[in-house]
């Protein structure tokens, strides 16, 4: 493509198929304690898509 560049990102729709294992960190246990941000939580599912 000449005008648009796309970064590599996890496909959200595909993650609906095999996500939800729940092994990931609870957001507030990390550093904030006063806000909710889940974007910086790593996925712990080894078979993630």
């Amino acid at each position: 493509m000449k005008h648009i560049q796309t970064l590599n990102t996890r496909d959200m729709a595909k993650s609906a198929q095999n996500g939800g294992c729940g092994e990931c960190q609870t957001s507030c246990q990390s550093a904030c304690k006063t806000s909710c941000g889940i974007a910086n939580q790593a996925c712990e599912n080894k078979n993630e898509q």
């Binding site: 996890r10 496909d11 957001s27 550093a31 941000g37 889940i38 996925c43």
Partner: protein, 461 residues
């Protein structure tokens, strides 16, 4: 739904439901906006020819742009629809297990920070320390209610948890004695103000704690404005040497220097840079104060543009540091685009009241540490489990689709509808939104995505 913005020379387009991120040239940026606004191809072409005639744009260029757009649409990476709401999970009926506890091992503190949401650890109640027996029962409660989840998180919190260090040690020893048999992996976190950090604490925490959160607000005068002892003496000179020793000995294990900024230091990047440049810390977190709007330290509407600029300054400076081979981490700019949370996590959020609970020194259960002390929000206790199931159901149902105000927000799959406690404290309901926090959150996500874009472009060049 898409979100477009320009930052630091990058034209960024986020496709909300696929999570795709695109970098465009100027004409493509406008073309995507025209499509989003519902303009026809002919209308868009006319507008682009007019806007970019000085740059010599041709009909062929515009055809290329629309070809790019169509290609991305076909690939499910642009103008995607919300397919998750179609098979909207019945959040109330979902079977949840508990995987994290915040243990309030000390409802007391050796500092007297005015802005403390926990009222110096007393949470609007009385002071007290958790006994080993209560803590042990809390860990057993966690194991019993964790189903097949292997990773269990436990945060030693307060108040100041090191005022009950012996019990912290005993609880970790107990957890280690049962985790193999129970097929669990305990991950402990310690959140401390640094006053009680000793060599023994350092050795223990670096052996046992997956992460430590070290509270420091930045520059000495900023830190000492609020983080004072009961005589009013600032804590900076006492805690900074402790923290430096702590981090030096940590050997690469996780830590965060965690500060709070208020109306009095809206130039908070100076505090972050002080911690990085003068003190040598690299893992940094800085949170906006959460307090009553009547408080002099509360952030104001007028502060917002200043804060936005600060977040941009921080992002740009982090790129400079990266280029110079001296990177720092800012908690809110950490985004893993390729291996980040799945859609289930993005919809359901932090899990307060369901997967995550706070346990008081007396064994009472609350949805999270920010609800402790509010009798309406007591869920039960660690001996009898959750008995206030009606209240827990409110939290079970709380997700990104349950906040009416979030539906048209581009950032909803990054915050999952935001912090329930902040929503409750500002609107009276956990289904509300803490609008001020949203504004800051969105700015941080924009900066974080720009950093990813810049890194990707840098790698390419």
């Amino acid at each position: 739904m898409i979100h477009q913005y320009k930052l630091n020379g990058y034209n960024i387009v986020l496709d909300v439901y696929s999570g795709s991120i695109h970098l465009t040239d100027e004409a493509a940026y406008d073309a995507i906006r025209y499509v989003d606004e519902g303009k026809t191809r002919e209308e868009a072409e006319k507008l682009l020819l007019d806007s970019y005639k000085d740059q010599g744009i041709t009909k062929e260029d515009i055809a290329d742009i629309f070809s790019d757009i169509e290609e991305l649409k076909s690939a499910g990476k642009l103008f995607t629809q919300d397919v998750y709401q179609d098979h909207k999970y019945d959040m109330k009926q979902r079977n949840t297990v508990i995987k994290a506890l915040c243990l309030l091992v000390a409802h007391t503190c050796n500092l007297n920070c005015e802005y403390c949401f926990a009222s110096q650890g007393k949470f609007q109640g009385s002071a007290g320390l958790m006994s080993f027996e209560t803590g042990k029962r809390a860990l057993d409660f966690l194991v019993e209610h964790s189903g097949f989840r292997r990773n269990l998180e436990v945060d030693f919190f307060g108040g100041e948890p090191l005022m009950n260090f012996e019990v912290c040690k005993q609880l970790v020893a107990y957890a280690r004695s049962i985790e193999k048999e129970k097929k669990k992996n305990f991950r402990f976190t310690l959140t401390t103000n640094g006053v009680g950090v000793t060599d023994e604490v350092i050795e223990w925490a670096n052996r046992e704690c997956h992460n430590v959160v070290l509270s420091l607000d930045g520059r000495k005068d900023v830190n000492d404005r609020f983080r004072v002892d009961y005589k009013g003496n600032g804590s900076y000179d006492r805690i900074v040497p402790n923290f430096r020793k702590f981090v030096d000995a940590r050997g690469g294990k996780g830590y965060y220097m965690r500060g709070t900024y208020t109306h009095f230091n809206t130039d908070f990047t100076k505090d972050i840079f002080h911690m990085a440049d003068d003190l040598g810390f690299t893992e940094l977190s800085m949170e906006p104060v959460v307090t009553s709007p009547d408080s002099p330290s509360a952030l104001t509407k007028e502060d917002l543009p200043v804060l936005f600029e600060q977040y941009e300054i921080l992002a740009k400076d982090m790129l400079r540091r990266e280029r110079e081979g001296k990177p720092i981490t800012f908690y809110h700019y950490m985004i893993d685009l390729e291996h980040g949370p799945c859609i289930y996590k993005r919809i359901s959020g932090c899990g307060s009241g369901t997967e995550y609970m706070a346990v008081t020194a007396w064994g009472d259960l609350y949805p999270c540490h920010q609800f402790v002390g509010d009798p309406d929000y007591k869920l039960g206790d660690i001996w009898n489990g959750v008995t206030n199931t009606a209240k827990q159901d409110e939290f079970k149902y709380c997700n990104v689709y349950s906040h009416p105000e979030c539906q048209d927000c581009w950032a909803k799959l990054y915050c999952s509808g935001g912090c329930a406690a902040n929503a409750y404290h500002t609107t009276g309901t956990i289904q509300g939104v803490y609008q001020y926090g949203c504004e800051l959150f969105k700015k941080r996500i924009e900066c974080a995505l720009m950093l990813k874009a810049a890194t990707a472009m840098g790698e390419e060049n």
